[in-house]
């Protein structure tokens, strides 16, 4: 029933800080913003798409040992559990202190958290999916024209350990084998962008011609207007022409991409079959191999959307020869009074974050345009619990990696102050340009992206 005149934060945020530190953006005269994010993209010759991914890990973080809590938005201070992320913190945003109100539905341990954070809807039971996961929404919006609508990968060896679904009955299935993944990506159907032929997308052709017609048809208006209104109309036409130029770029053959190099098959590298299983050492290695392949698939424009799971939501990770899995340890292992945490479960969490660092690094070290591939992706990472020991879903740890082509600032720790966890996913959706003004249902419905991380 609310009729609030809600204003979106845009890339063009000015007067920041005037109103309670929030972002206020205004429609400024055209010349003022000619050289903002769009200008940069145009100056670079276009054609570097922004891609979206997710990274999943099970069992959350140990509260108080992963990151130093903050009251306000500012630098991230990773603690021992996230030691591996310290050198990469300039690429990361960390989010905690968000809440997951369940609206009377019960917390289904290890399921509610991931479903709520990725779909915006609390599952009525178990991991029932009532809305698509955010990667599906992004893929629907940006995956036109790429070979794979999305690529889903898991390191656990179990294809169902992936956290993407269009509906309850349409769930993602993940690649589990590096060898199989390689064959799918770089096997027979692969067209090297440095050599391949280019076919323009008819939809873009139509969009462009419709815009040209629009300009033609509207020109007669100018004669009826006073001088100042005519100037405003001219600015509008100039903006339309910018959009036409962007569409024109999409109709041209993409520039050769020297960073796209077909990698060697994992079988060739290892000489024998890649490791499998839930022993953490094997998972770690699988994750590293799959990540390398995934990064090259993204660099070669094979997909614009991807999902990776390091471990599952009931983390089956274990040490060779030990009875308890990571999940069981989080419940059964006594808390070491001096350390303040469960030492072995904590060790698994640390190792998981090393995997996380591998993942970020793989994107960061791949050059693209003037920067790295990581600069042109946005990756949403979240677990399903905040503190696995008690199945807490409030305070869920979430991160983003990458700058989304300059749309997102990084290196920030954003305390949620009890806002719904969906604000993070919603911010990602908005950063990816999705035309949504709200996301999520009931108490998880949010209308405000986190303006502090949007450029």
């Amino acid at each position: 029933m609310s009729i609030l005149l809600k204003r979106a934060a845009t890339r063009r945020s000015v007067l920041r800080g005037l109103l309670g530190g929030g972002a206020v953006s205004l429609a400024l005269p055209f010349l003022d913003c000619f050289l903002d994010g769009n200008g940069e993209a145009l100056a670079a010759g276009g054609a570097i798409p922004v891609r979206f991914g997710t990274w999943y890990w099970g069992m959350g973080h140990t509260p108080g040992h992963a990151v130093k809590d903050r009251a306000d938005v500012g630098e991230i201070q990773f603690l021992e559990e996230c030691k591996a992320l310290i050198p990469l913190r300039q690429h990361i945003n960390y989010f905690n202190g968000f809440s997951a109100p369940l609206d009377g539905r019960s917390n289904s341990p290890h399921r509610t958290g991931w479903v709520a954070s990725r779909t915006g809807v609390v599952p009525p039971i178990g991991d029932e999916i009532l809305a698509p996961t955010l990667d599906v929404l992004v893929a629907d919006a940006i995956s036109g024209g790429t070979r794979f609508r999305n690529l889903d990968v898991t390191s656990t060896g179990n294809p169902i350990d992936i956290y993407t679904a269009r509906s309850n009955f349409s769930r993602g299935t993940a690649e589990v084998s590096p060898v199989g993944f390689y064959a799918r990506l770089f096997g027979g159907d692969f067209v090297d962008p440095n050599r391949g032929e280019f076919k323009p997308d008819p939809r873009v052709m139509v969009e462009k011609s419709v815009l040209s017609g629009l300009v033609e048809e509207s020109k007669s208006l100018a004669g009826k207007l006073g001088a100042s209104d005519r100037a405003r109309l001219d600015e509008y036409f100039t903006s339309i022409r910018q959009l036409e130029n962007q569409l024109a770029l999409q109709l041209e053959k993409p520039p050769a991409n020297e960073m796209c190099k077909v990698p060697a098959s994992p079988r060739d590298v290892d000489g024998e079959r890649a490791p499998t299983g839930v022993e953490i050492e094997a998972v770690h290695e699988t994750h590293r191999l799959m990540t390398e392949l995934l990064v090259m698939a993204v660099a070669c424009n094979q997909t614009k959307v991807f999902n990776m799971a390091y471990s599952d939501n009931f983390s089956k990770l274990r040490h060779a020869g030990e009875t308890y899995t990571h999940h069981t340890l989080t419940h059964e292992e006594p808390t070491d009074v001096k350390l303040g945490y469960q030492p072995t479960a904590f060790w698994f969490n640390c190792k998981t974050m090393e995997g996380c660092a591998d993942f970020i690094n793989a994107f960061a070290k791949t050059r693209e345009g003037a920067g790295s591939l990581l600069d042109n992706v946005l990756i949403f990472a979240a677990s399903e619990t905040s503190y696995a020991r008690i199945h807490a879903v409030d305070n869920l740890p979430m991160m983003t990696f990458g700058k989304a082509g300059g749309r997102v600032k990084t290196g920030l720790h954003v305390p949620g102050r009890g806002d719904p966890i969906t604000r993070v996913g919603f911010t990602c959706l908005r950063a990816m340009g999705l035309p949504l003004d709200s996301w999520g249902a009931k108490s998880l419905r949010v209308t405000k992206p986190i303006s502090e991380i949007l450029v």
Partner: protein, 380 residues
């Protein structure tokens, strides 16, 4: 401490907060119980549990396996052996449903000297009386001599119940998340919040959940509707009480209280229940103890249901045996006691308790920094 009266004029607030005033007479206060935790007293682990934590169904099962079987079952982690730890009765029975179908080493009882609780049987030495079986006494944590809390003796060395144990954390979390089984406490006829020798306390079940802030702490001043059947409260025990130096103390009485937690609903049937509740100066929060004799059958029903996960770490046969042995209240014809002395630590937040008819609306307990109440508009 002073709390506002419903009709207190705002301008005169500061004046009338200094001493009790006519405005305070006959007030009704409302609270919602946010935390309901088994009162497990913990100090030095070795003083209370010198032999360690009680072994679990799983451990008892693993101990009974050959080395080869153990290796076979554990090679895939704990997920590899399913429900075998509980299905280990002589003929494959589930030992939590048929606790006498297997014999485990005895449960390890809490052996400390101190405990939460109150003196329920009236004796100083715990010898049998007409309404109690012989048992050992504790010294109260607050120094009270001869308190009874056999439930602590039963559960004090079990992983799932010790401090931060997952049983109560899970149950509190679930009630917070879904509002099921939420206890409401209504205190009536309060004339003086410091000392009042005659107040009335009613217990209800709420159908609204507690609103929480961003850090999941309960928020005061919520409104709670009473769960009713055909217009009559489903729960509604009423007891007499008094306020002594700001602490509410009720007279022992048989009281039924709702409970939900760990996916289980229970109507908790207490005998000789008494409530001790301290309200903080803001009037917004309260904490205290509920003590009384707990129905043994109900406790067993709850505990055996929990056994489906391994995280609580106890043996069903051992708990069953110990429960019968430790039960200390209300012997049946055979002399076997049917109740066990118990204590629970409770935390509550203030709120407005909305009765099925509008004629009775509890005022939220409030401190001197808050407003007086409004009224429901006539058009409602």
């Amino acid at each position: 401490m002073h709390l506002w009266g419903p009709a207190a004029a705002f301008v005169s607030a500061v004046v009338c907060s200094v001493t009790g005033s006519a405005a305070d007479r006959g007030r009704t206060l409302g609270f919602a119980v946010t935390n309901w935790d088994t009162a497990i007293y913990e100090s030095r682990f070795e003083d209370e549990c010198p032999e360690g934590l009680t072994p679990s169904n799983e451990e008892n099962w693993l101990r009974g396996l050959s080395q080869a079987d153990r290796a076979r079952f554990t090679s895939k982690g704990s997920g590899g052996y399913g429900n075998r730890p509980t299905r280990r009765g002589a003929n494959g029975e589930n030992v939590c449903h048929f606790p006498t179908s297997a014999v485990d080493p005895p449960l390890l009882e809490a052996e400390g000297k101190l405990s939460y609780g109150i003196n329920l049987d009236g004796t100083q030495d715990g010898k049998a009386t007409a309404k109690s079986c012989a048992h050992e006494k504790f010294q109260g944590v607050d120094g009270t001599p001869a308190v009874d809390n056999q439930m602590y003796r039963l559960l004090g060395c079990t992983y799932g119940w010790r401090h931060y144990g997952i049983v109560d954390i899970n149950a509190d979390g679930q009630r917070k998340a879904n509002g099921l089984g939420l206890i409401l406490i209504e205190v009536r006829n309060v004339d003086d919040l410091q000392n009042d020798d005659d107040v009335e306390v009613a217990f209800y079940r709420s159908i609204d959940r507690v609103a929480v802030d961003g850090s999941a702490s309960p928020l005061p001043y919520g409104t709670y509707r009473i769960d009713t059947v055909n217009g009559v409260p489903r729960y509604g025990s009423v007891v007499k009480g008094k306020i002594v130096k700001g602490e509410l103390i009720t007279q022992p009485a048989n009281v039924n209280l709702p409970f939900y937690g760990n996916y289980t609903f229970i109507e908790q049937r207490f005998r000789d229940l008494s409530l001790h509740l301290e309200i903080d100066p803001s009037g917004e929060h309260a904490k205290g103890t509920i003590a009384g004799y707990y129905d043994v059958e109900q406790l067993w029903d709850y505990i055996r249901g929990l056994s489906l996960t391994s995280t609580h770490q106890y043996s069903c046969p051992a708990v069953f045996t110990a429960l019968k042995k430790l039960a200390d209240g209300y012997p049946d014809a055979s002399g076997q006691c049917t109740h066990i002395s118990s204590a629970f630590l409770v935390k509550a937040v203030n709120g407005f308790i909305q009765h099925p008819t509008e004629s009775k609306i509890s005022e939220a307990s409030r401190g001197k920094t808050s407003s007086n109440g409004g009224r429901v508009s006539a058009e409602n």
